[in-house]
């Protein structure tokens, strides 16, 4: 069959769910979805990954909450959000009514909070998956971030899996700020993760040399954007090398189809776009069309067939 007539298959798969596009929005980088829908059709996305939702409403941190850095930015939002109940009553129905596939990102301060969020989400019609954001301080263990602790990470994932059932894919989002990422990935996979999301932001700080204080009210913040892409590629490559069968939602500094393809060749099955949305509200659409063009140019007839090709000799 002539190459140009061959259908291109852009799908990707996490657990039991298949998604029609490999480009997602990253958690916390698409508002409620509604705002972005003015610029793009949400149905063109693989899924909207919601901002991480907590059990209770959260005001988030004081401002300043952001600082631009070279090819990146720091944020310290503090998971501002309406809490799971209002979220399920308002945000989710709107997204579904507007043809978006939805992956709900959840965050907790205790293992029980994660379990309780999973119970609330189990059986909610229309959602396509759960992303477990474990880059949150564990109040039961001196505020040590779950994702930095293999045991706590594992316990969170086990309790989510127990409560969510087998239907909804559980994607666990890891932090790159650890000595041994592969070990932590191994723990959460053993605990039942259907996929991994790599990477969350790097811990960073900026200081205002005029007022001589940290620029962010929260002192430290999460570093995102193109600056961190090499760390994302490395993380995805390492984890894919160790666990070939586990799909990875890759993210970290993707702003073009070339960037997305880099992460896919490292081992990501799909790509989430975060910070780039701030600079360009149509970024996801551009990334998607550029990516598919680049894949076709290279003779791939599906996204899946390019996943991890940089590992081949």
């Amino acid at each position: 069959m002539d190459k140009q007539y061959q259908a291109f298959d852009p799908r990707c798969r996490f657990g039991r769910k298949s998604f029609p596009s490999p480009i997602f929005t990253a958690s916390g980088c698409a508002g409620s979805g509604k705002e972005l829908s003015q610029f793009i059709g949400l149905d063109e996305l693989g899924a909207v990954v919601t901002k991480s939702i907590s059990v209770k409403p959260r005001s988030g941190r004081a401002t300043p909450r952001m600082a631009e850095t070279p090819s990146g930015m720091l944020n310290s939002i503090g998971l501002q959000g309406p809490g799971i109940d209002q979220f399920l009553a308002e945000d989710i129905p709107w997204l579904i009514a507007n043809d978006a596939r939805v992956i709900v990102s959840i965050s907790g301060e205790t293992i029980e909070e994660y379990a309780s969020l999973a119970r609330k989400l189990r059986g909610v019609p229309g959602i396509s998956g759960i992303e477990v954001n474990i880059s949150c301080p564990n109040v039961e263990n001196r505020g040590m971030v779950f994702a930095c602790d293999p045991v706590a990470s594992k316990l969170v994932v086990e309790s989510v899996r127990r409560n969510i059932g087998g239907e909804l894919p559980t994607i666990v989002k890891l932090s790159p700020d650890v000595t041994d990422l592969v070990a932590i990935a191994g723990e959460v996979i053993a605990a039942g993760a259907d996929g991994l999301a790599l990477i969350n932001t790097l811990l960073g700080m900026a200081i205002d040399i005029d007022n001589m204080r940290p620029k962010l009210a929260g002192m430290t913040g999460g570093l995102s954007g193109p600056a961190i892409r090499p760390v994302a590629v490395r993380a995805i490559y390492q984890v894919h090398a160790a666990f070939k069968g586990i799909p990875i939602l890759g993210m970290g500094g993707v702003a073009s189809g070339r960037d997305a393809l880099e992460l896919i060749m490292a081992g990501a099955s799909a790509i989430a776009v975060g910070t780039a949305n701030f600079g360009d509200p149509t970024a996801v659409i551009k990334v998607k069309s550029e990516l598919i063009e680049l894949l076709k140019e290279r003779g791939f007839n599906s996204v899946a067939s390019a996943v991890g090709v940089a590992h081949e000799k």
């Binding site: 916390g28 980088c29 698409a30 508002g31 409620s32 509604k34 705002e35 972005l36 003015q38 610029f39 901002k51 209770k56 409403p57 959260r58 005001s59 988030g60 941190r61 004081a62 401002t63 300043p64 909450r65 952001m66 600082a67 631009e68 070279p70 090819s71 990146g72 930015m73 944020n75 939002i77 503090g78 501002q80 959000g81 309406p82 809490g83 308002e90 945000d91 709107w94 009210a217 954007g225 193109p226 702003a255 910070t275 780039a276 949305n277 701030f278 600079g279 360009d280 509200p281 149509t282």
Partner: protein
């Protein structure tokens, strides 16, 4: 759920004029039909640095004027202070260069349904959106008095044609280089009394707006202010630009200034907790 300005579009706009005026640059962009959707108080988000730039976030600029007729079709005008890397890049552009703009964004100044006596107070480049507002108010039969303040004379932006649309213009500078030496707030009480002011509109640095709200509150006036918080996206998706605002039900929420602002009801902002999360805020967890 509040939502983004429904008229917002993303466009590449050509610069048709870029002139230094005092401490600022006055920039005119050929905006096509974007111009006709702009209201006084709206802003645009401008991509800075060009391809390969290390600056990844847009910069917000108040729309100084928007006009949908004229030689170039619709135009949008901005007043830009060259401060940091992004604004300096922008002000260094040449005529015919093209900039990537998202706009119009945010809320606009509310216009009284009946003619009223309005006082417009601007600090620094905060005067920009007030001239367009003044024109609208005049058209609606309002009396419009204006006070502009800055640290020094060069930082007062008050073009001739702008002055025509106001009944009186008072200028204050901290160094006394032009007008009255001091701050805008010093002259407000007298002006409010003298002109029987019923509504105050303000735009400028946050401490200035906070001080105006105090005066406005004491005088029992309506106060619409355009706030300025650091914005990463300008379209409501990043949650960086929040400030504590009391909603109609009395609940304090961390509210996005890019979509529920920049123009807000001054009496609803919790001014003494700016850059803080006040105790009792919805979802307060600290």
């Amino acid at each position: 759920m509040s939502s983004i300005n429904r008229r917002a579009q993303q466009r590449n706009l050509e610069i048709i004029s870029n002139k230094k005026v005092g401490a600022y640059h006055h920039m005119v962009l050929a905006a096509g039909d974007m111009a006709q959707h702009c209201s006084a108080g709206n802003f645009v988000a401008v991509s800075v640095g060009g391809t390969g730039s290390s600056m990844i976030l847009r910069r917000a600029f108040a729309i100084y004027r928007a006009s949908d007729r004229g030689q170039y079709g619709g135009t949008i005008e901005l007043v830009i202070a060259p401060q940091g890397q992004g604004s300096r890049w922008l002000t260094s552009l040449d005529i015919h260069d093209v900039v990537d703009i998202v706009g119009p964004l945010g809320t606009s100044f509310g216009i009284p349904t009946e003619p009223a006596s309005a006082l417009l107070v601007g600090g620094g480049y905060g005067s920009a959106p007030l001239f367009g507002l003044a024109e609208v108010l005049k058209e609606r039969g309002c009396r419009v008095d204006m006070v502009l303040g800055a640290s020094s004379a060069g930082k007062i932006y008050a073009p001739l044609e702008g002055k025509r649309s106001v009944n009186s213009l008072t200028i204050t500078t901290e160094d006394g280089g032009a007008g009255i030496k001091g701050r805008v707030t010093q002259v407000l009480p007298d002006l409010i009394e003298k002109h029987g002011i019923e509504i105050i509109y303000s735009c400028g640095p946050m401490p200035m707006i906070a001080a105006i709200e105090e005066i406005s509150f004491k005088a029992g006036l309506v106060h619409q202010c355009a706030v300025e918080e650091a914005m990463a996206c300008g379209i409501g998706i990043c949650m960086t630009c929040v400030l504590p605002v009391r909603d109609p039900d009395g609940v304090i929420k961390m509210t996005r200034s890019c979509i529920d602002g920049p123009v807000m009801d001054g009496s609803r902002v919790i001014w003494d907790s700016l850059r803080k999360v006040p105790l009792g805020t919805w979802g307060f967890d600290g």
